[in-house]
């Protein structure tokens, strides 16, 4: 029998432990440093624009007057994208996870993931060259029949390059993100809970409402927020699709602008205070995204007691 005293330790194993823990600590610190660095850069570079006299800022009425229409434009585009994409994505994810035959499900999941691999400039080109043209008759119809609603007020854009088109293109872009995350979550629903619902005499849809969706709720919210992040920050597709202009209530006229597209379109020729202004716009976008994520976390934590994690 070999005797092992409590004080002898496996030297090599301990060293590996230390290296690993140091490496993870470094990685953790690095990500914080990067985030902090970006924030500092944005604040310093944005500062001149924030304190400049109003007449020096583009538009001549100060930074606030410059930024708020494009903030609203950004939010409108992102909200349109989510309103369209979320129900479709959840439906597709449920179909893949609980309805489709297994072979079809894996194929369909693969195709959805492929959608995420298409570069955004391709989406932009598709939206500008194809979708805008094809969809403009629908805008005319909306203007004629629902024109009394401010958001569908005519005359509709003849080119179809409107904020609604941009929102639709964005919805296609965020669809794979929300779908694949939701699908993973739905597949993780404990069999136990699904069977509990079925054994009570639930139909498949009732089982999904009783067991799958409540279990997946935090995951769905996270997925939607990731999609929202993508929609808020998407630049190229919006820049190509949207024929931008001043803030307009109607979604089917040309006009409106998003922060990301505004920065991308103006940055190459910008100089001096204009650069600071655009970076300040970037800072605003950063703050919006941060706020959205914090709200999402708050929503998720509000129902912690009932999450099933305990």
């Amino acid at each position: 029998m070999t005797t092992t005293s409590l004080t002898t330790s496996r030297g090599a194993g301990r060293a590996g432990d230390k290296v690993f823990s140091a490496a993870t600590l470094a990685a953790g610190c690095l990500i914080l440093a990067v985030l902090f660095g970006v924030a500092i850069f944005l604040v310093i570079q944005a500062f001149p624009a924030l304190v400049a006299s109003p007449d020096k800022i583009q538009g001549g009425e100060g930074f606030f007057a410059y930024i708020w229409p494009i903030v609203i434009g950004t939010l409108i585009a992102a909200v349109i994208a989510l309103v369209i994409a979320t129900p479709v994505a959840i439906g597709v994810a449920l179909f893949i996870s609980h309805f489709a035959p297994r072979k079809l499900a894996s194929g369909l999941g693969y195709v959805i993931d492929l959608l995420a691999a298409i570069p955004s400039v391709v989406y932009g080109a598709w939206g500008a060259a194809f979708l805008a043209k094809e969809i403009s008759p629908a805008y005319n119809w909306l203007a004629n029949n629902l024109g009394w609603l401010p958001i569908f007020q005519g005359p509709a854009s003849a080119t179809g390059k409107t904020i609604l088109t941009a929102g639709i293109v964005l919805s296609v872009m965020v669809l794979p993100i929300i779908t694949s995350l939701s699908r993973e979550i739905f597949l993780q629903t404990p069999k136990l809970h699904e069977e509990a619902a079925l054994a009570l005499g639930a139909t498949r849809w009732e089982m999904i409402r009783m067991a799958v969706l409540p279990f997946g709720r935090p995951g769905i919210i996270s997925a939607v927020m990731l999609g929202l992040g993508r929609a808020l920050g998407e630049t190229m597709a919006v820049a190509l699709v949207l024929s931008s202009g001043v803030l307009t209530a109607s979604l089917i006229q040309s006009g409106n602008q998003t922060i990301a597209a505004e920065i991308a379109l103006n940055f190459p020729e910008a100089s001096g205070l204009k650069v600071n202004t655009l970076i300040a716009a970037g800072l605003v976008l950063f703050v919006i995204t941060l706020g959205v994520n914090m709200i999402a976390r708050w929503i998720i934590s509000r129902h912690k007691e009932f999450s099933g994690a305990n």
Binding site: L192, E195, A197, A199, G201, F215, F306, S307, N310
Partner: protein, 259 residues
């Protein structure tokens, strides 16, 4: 309110694999019937065919008849959803819905079967079901709290309350105590004894003392070897099965000589 079950020449398949063969059994109304047998002998599989829960597993199918007071569960036009609302099930591991309160857990099945229920009726039903599951006194002050916060034994009784809230004809229990401590097990066994005044209860158990304590009749399942189908070896009064069984295999099993 309770019905009898008669099974005729039942074979259960997983795709092409015959898992359980030639089961014929008559289960009396308002009685407790225990299924015993070694692991993998198909008793849980067979139990699931009694409310068509085996259909959840891809490829599982049956041949033969299961008659609930003469009506074939597998007859043409019979909806498994209807079958399950009449034949409730309690599982091996307690599975209250984690996102629902205790009250909502009890009402979960009722809300499916008859969509509208007044608050007064719901309160009465929650109390009646929890009383029926011997859980009322322990949870009456925290009906709005999540069911997952209860102890394992309480969760299992909550699941029983949820099952009896829909007033089924039959309650199937798949090793309901295997995840519980002895005291919680005793609570469930007492409850099973009370349940048989109103319901037909069928219970799968690995615990032979439990089968002897709670059941009126016992069915012994066995398997000849790996890859062979499970079969019903012997079925009779629990007392006879444990003291003087007809089959050698039954005697070996209940006396602990194998399995």
């Amino acid at each position: 309110m309770s019905k009898r079950i008669d099974v005729k020449d039942l074979n259960v398949y997983y795709s092409k694999f015959l898992a359980v063969a030639d089961v014929n059994i008559n289960i009396e109304a308002k009685s407790v019937t225990a299924f015993i047998g070694p692991s993998g002998c198909g008793k849980s599989t067979f139990l699931r065919t009694l409310n068509r829960m085996h259909e959840v597993i891809p490829g599982a199918r049956v041949e033969g008849e299961v008659l609930l007071d003469g009506d074939n569960l597998y007859g043409p036009g019979v909806d498994p959803v209807t079958v399950r609302s009449q034949i409730g099930m309690v599982f091996q591991r307690p599975n209250p819905f984690p996102t629902m309160s205790i009250r909502d857990n009890v009402l979960a099945g009722v809300k499916l079967n008859n969509q509208r229920i007044s608050k007064g009726e719901a309160d009465a039903l929650v109390e009646r079901s929890l009383q029926g599951a011997n859980l009322w006194n322990e949870v009456k002050d925290r009906l709005g709290k999540p069911g997952s916060g209860l102890s394992g034994g309480q969760q299992q009784r909550l699941c029983i309350a949820r099952a009896i809230a829909v007033e089924p004809q039959v309650i199937l229990m798949d090793e309901p105590c295997s995840a519980l401590d002895p005291i919680s097990t005793l609570a469930i066994e007492d409850l099973i004894n009370e349940l048989k005044d109103q319901y037909t209860v069928v219970i799968v158990t690995h615990n032979m003392q439990q089968a002897a304590r709670v059941s009126d009749k016992t069915a012994f399942f066995n398997i000849a070897g790996t890859g062979k189908p499970g079969r019903l070896i012997e079925y009779g009064d629990t007392h006879t099965m444990f003291s003087n069984p007809t089959e050698k295999a039954t005697e070996d099993y209940v006396s602990g000589r194998f399995g």
